[in-house]
Structure formats: C-alpha cells, structure tokens
C-alpha cells in the first residue's frame, strides 16, 4: 500500500510542475505592472525601477520562475504587495476555514444525496422517485450563490435562526455548508440512483431476495458496499468543481477561506497572492485525488490487489 501511495505522489509531481509553469507564464503576461503596484501610485519612476530590480522583475521569465520555485520548495510563496504580509502566512490562516467548509459541504452531500438516491431507486417509476429526481435535477441546475442568498434570506433574515454571514461558531457554518453541499447532494442522488438500480438487477441480489433477505437487508448488505466504488470515483472527479463552488459560497457568506482570498487577489491584481492561491488550491486538488484513490483501494479489494500488483 505504501509503495502505491509513494508512486502516486511521485506521479503528481509533474502535474504540479506543469500547473506552476502554466500559472507563472500566464501571470508573466499580465498587463498590470507588479513593480508599480508594489511601489504605490505616488512613487517616482526611479523608485519603481529600483523595486523592479530588487524583486527580480527585470530578469527573463525562466530566471524569475526558477527563483520562485526555489523559494516555493522551501515553503516561501513570496510577499503580498497589497496586504504587505507573507503569502504563506495569509494562506495558512485561511486553510482551516476552507477545510471546515469543505468537510461540512461533503457531509451534506452524502447525508442527503445517498439516501435520496437509494430511496428513488427502490421506488423506481413511482411518484416518489419522479419527485426526488425532479428536485435533484433542479438542485443540479440552481446556481450555488443564488441558493446561498435564498437560504440567507429565509433562515437568516426572515426567520433569524442562523447568523447573516462571517465565521466564528458552528452556527456560522450551517448555511455555508448547506449551500456548498446541496448542489452536490442532488448530483450524488442521481448517481446513487443509477448505481443502485444497476446493483438491484444483478444475479446476486436476486439470489439474496430469493433466500428471503428483506429490502433493507439487501440495501445494507449488497447495495451499499457495491455502490461505494462508482460514488468514490465521482467524488474524485468532483473536487475541482467543488472547490469552485466553495469560492462562490465564501463570497456569499463572507466566509474567510482560501476562495475569498483568491478572489481578493485577482481583484487587486496581487500577483504573488494569485500565484500562491492557485498553486495551493491545485495542490489540494491533486492530493485529494490521491486520497480518494487510496480510499477506493481500501474500500474495494479488487482495486487494491490490482494496484498493489502494479506497484510491486
């Protein structure tokens, strides 16, 4: 298992390298002048040029890139022009909030999505199935920031149960987590329904039913373990989108996470901060992908054996 994990981490290195190069090149061609941003609007031309030289911005692209990567590998993501703080520090402060929101969102996805999907499959073709799938398709189609504002209006303002934004307590997390998770829940419900239907039509389920196993028993003993695999695969493909959703949710609820930081960085053309947030979120995406592959291998002995064989 460890050999497999090690191999996956090594495979991730070129992907991350590619991401850093693409982002760096994109930002290099940014029309805004980072030295001027750093110096401020009232600085003289000489000051700007001195800063440009000091920051190494007068160097060719590849020199700037290798210097940047040398520092990144030592954990130094540079210095934010606008916030006058180390980028690493800014990002580290935000990560716990984004992780809390992600965790809450995924919990909402699973707690709502999986049971609805199973119930729909069991009641296939009946009104409950149709209603469930209709709502699920609406949920997939609703913009998350809009859902968030509706939740804020009804559960924060009209019926003041939850705070109107910000962070600090568990109550602050409820609405953002619901918003981040509802769209995904609808998606998982659809996936879970079709995967449950596939499993319900297999021979081993027919055999189980024939020997007298109840519907509930069939679901717990046969459907859940077998449906897990495609669901985990889905989760892996979902991550980059989920993080996109988190960016929007953080904006709606003024949640002080990584996504908000990224939006602020892009709005103020804070080059080191843009680079830092894009690279760190990409690292999170890539490593969540590895984590999901590992979880999948642990959950499914067939995959575990084939992957172990490949890495041995």
């Amino acid at each position: 298992m460890w050999a497999y994990i090690g191999r996956r981490v090594l495979q991730a290195a070129p992907v991350l390298l590619g991401i850093s190069i693409i982002t760096f090149v994109l930002i290099y061609y940014l029309p805004a002048d980072p030295a001027r941003m750093y110096a401020g609007p009232s600085a003289t031309v000489e000051t700007v040029e001195r800063i440009r030289h000091r920051l190494g911005l007068d160097q060719p692209l590849w020199v700037q890139y290798t210097r940047y990567m040398e520092r990144v590998l030592q954990g130094d993501l540079g210095f934010s022009y606008r916030k006058q703080t180390a980028v690493t520090e800014l990002i580290l402060n935000r990560i716990p909030y984004t992780l809390a929101l992600t965790f809450g969102g995924v919990l909402v996805e699973l707690i709502i999505g999986l049971p609805v999907g199973i119930a729909s499959a069991v009641a296939r073709g009946r009104w409950m199935d149709r209603l469930g799938m209709f709502i699920a398709l609406l949920g997939v189609s609703a913009p998350p920031f809009w859902l968030g504002l509706l939740l804020l209006y009804w559960l924060g303002f009209r019926v003041p149960i939850f705070p109107l934004g910000g962070a600090g307590s568990l109550a602050h997390l409820v609405l953002p987590a619901l918003t981040a998770g509802l769209g995904g829940a609808a998606w998982y419900a659809r996936m879970m329904r079709s995967s449950t239907l596939d499993i319900l039509s297999t021979d081993y389920v027919r055999t189980a039913r024939a020997k007298g196993l109840s519907t509930r028993g069939t679901i717990i003993r046969h459907v859940l373990p077998n449906a897990l695999n495609p669901i985990i695969t889905m989760a892996g493909m979902d991550i980059p989108w989920f993080i996109g959703g988190v960016v929007l949710v953080e904006r709606v609820f003024d949640w002080p996470g990584l996504g908000r930081l990224a939006v602020e960085a892009i709005e103020t053309v804070d080059v080191p901060l843009i680079l830092g947030t894009v690279i760190v979120t990409s690292i999170i995406v890539v490593f969540s992908g590895i984590l999901i592959d590992v979880v999948q291998a642990l959950a499914d002995p067939r995959i575990r054996h084939s992957r172990l064989a490949a890495s041995g």
């Binding site: 504002l149 993080i243 709005e267």
Partner: protein, 323 residues
C-alpha cells in the same frame, strides 16, 4: 468504456410494422437515416426531454425577441422606478396593469426587461463557449486516442494538468488577465472546459481504434486521417450531441458565476449573474432582485439538462438502460 454503437437491430425488431414483416431485413433504408429517425421518435416519447426542448425553445425565443418582448429599454432609469427614499420598487399593479411586472432594480430600471436582455448574454456565452470546448475536446481526445504513442502521452498529460486546476479559479485568473469582455469570457470558458470532453472522446476512440471495421479499412489501404474522419469521428456524433447540450448548461452556470464574482460580463450589459451581484446588497429589502435572475439561470440550466439527459437516452438507449 463501452462504445456507443449505431446498432439498428434492437429497436428495428420492436418497431417493424405489419407492412414490412415479409420484407427481408437487408432491404431496409440505409442505417444513418433510420438511426436519427428513431432517435427523434424516442425523444418525442420522452416527456421530460420534450419539456426541456420546449423550455429551451422558449428561452432562445426570449433572447432573440428581447427587443420586442421587453416592455422597456433595459438601460432606462425611470423616475417612478425608485421609491421616494431611493429604494427599488416591487411589482405592483396600477389600474389593473403592472407598471413594472417584476419590479425595478437599485437604479430604477425595469427588471423584466433586463432579464430578457440578459438571456442573450447567457445563451451566447453558453452556446459559443461550449462549441469551442467540444471542438477542442474532440480534437485532442480523438487525436490522442487514435494516433497513440508519444502524442497520446503528451496530450493526455496536458489534459490531466488542466483538469487539476480548480476550474472556476483558472477561468477567473484568465479573465482578469485578459480583461473581461463577452468574447474573452467565451474563449476562456471554452479553454478551461474542454478537458472533460477530451477524456470522454479519448476513451471512446481508444475502444474503437482496434475494432474490426477499422482494421478492415486499413487493410483496404485507407490512410490514418481518412479512417479518423470517415470511420471514427462519425461514431462520436452521439457523444458530441449529448455534450453539446449538457455542456451549455454548465457553461451558462460558469458565466453566471464569473459575472456574480464581478469578473464576468461587465455592466452596463445586463447579465443574470451580474444582476444578482448588484442585487445582493438589497436582498433583505428587495429580494426580487436576487430571486428572478436566479430563477432565470436555474430554468435555463434545467432546460438544457433535461434535453441533454433525454438526448442521451434517445441516442443510446442500450447503454443508458432504457431498453
């Protein structure tokens, strides 16, 4: 991955009419014609797909006829469009007729007119960005899948890197660098969204390239490009149609998200996401500023999703389990 097959035999049997029961199978019309005729027949029987299709037609009509349908100029600021203390006016009836059917926004502009005009931007971006994404994705996926070798490794590695970018963040960065305009947004969304299509197409082409009909064509001396365009790409048509529809839904959503974050379509051009962003600070006193543009986004995305799901079932009933 299972391959989409244009296999006529299954449904052919069930739909054979009494008149040609005696006719031998081989004398039927060419497969292509029959295939799409049957797809259309299946689609027409699918009630939710038809609802989606009708909704899509209505939304397209609303966008095309916005000039005629909109009661007012979307940019006109009405003096009676704001309350005496400068607040947006809700939908109210005056002399049995609505002055502003959906109310006004914070600048005293008619919300309904702005929503109708907003449909133009949403559809324009959704359709064109998706056309671009499908083109790039099909090209990269099929070239990588068919030619194989070093090209395959290179292209699929690149796809993998692009997939690891958080989609929305990448789009935001690109738009911010290139300065937001409708055309830039179309290009950027197309440039970040093609990866999914490339992966799907790649999987199908890899499964197709060693099939007997490809080997037969090669044995007859057909060139690689000829085989790719004449034998492989036509097999991908169902996939392209399905993604060409479902992708519009996703791209309408991405455009709305970018505009909501203020990095998308810029005022004064009315866009649904931008309208929600501007209405957000009034959501307590004037919730309609958020509710109606959001409903428009949801209905549009919903309609394309319904139609796309229906098309997938109709184009490939075997794989989607409806047969």
């Amino acid at each position: 991955m299972t391959v989409t097959q244009l296999d006529p035999s299954r449904e052919e049997r069930s739909e054979t009419s009494a008149a040609n029961l005696t006719a031998p199978y081989v004398e039927r019309a060419p497969v292509e014609v029959g295939y799409f005729a049957r797809v259309w027949r299946r689609l027409r029987r699918d009630r939710s797909a038809m609802v989606g299709g009708v909704l899509v037609a209505l939304i397209v009509a609303a966008a095309l006829l916005a000039e005629i349908l909109a009661p007012y100029d979307p940019a006109e600021q009405f003096r009676d469009g704001l309350t005496p203390d400068g607040q947006p006016v809700p939908s109210t009836l005056m002399d049995g007729r609505a002055r502003f059917l959906l109310g006004t926004d914070a600048n005293g502009r008619d919300l309904l007119s702005r929503i109708l005009h907003g449909a133009r931007v949403s559809l324009l971006v959704g359709v064109l960005a998706n056309a671009l994404a499908v083109t790039i994705g099909t090209l990269i996926g099929s070239v990588a899948g068919y030619f194989g070798g070093r090209l395959e490794t290179l292209l699929m590695r690149f796809t993998e890197i692009m997939m690891a970018f958080p989609t929305l963040l990448l789009a935001m960065t690109l738009v911010a660098i290139l300065k937001p305009s409708v055309w830039i947004i179309i290009v950027v969304i197309g440039a970040v969204y093609w990866t999914w299509i490339a992966r799907v197409v790649y999987g199908q082409v890899v499964a197709l390239r060693d099939r007997d009909f490809v080997t037969a064509a090669r044995a007859l001396g057909a060139g690689r490009r000829f085989i790719l365009f004449r034998h492989i790409l036509p097999q991908l048509v169902p996939t392209i149609i399905v993604w060409g529809t479902l992708g519009i839904a996703t791209n309408v959503m991405i455009e709305a998200s970018l505009s909501y974050l203020g990095i998308g379509v810029q005022p004064p051009t009315p866009s649904w996401g931008g309208m929600i962003q501007q209405g957000q600070s009034f959501y307590r006193t004037a919730p309609w500023l958020v509710i109606f543009p959001g409903l428009s986004i949801m209905t549009t995305v919903f309609a394309f999703n319904l139609l796309g799901d229906g098309l997938r079932d109709a184009l490939d009933p075997v794989q989607s389990g409806k047969l």
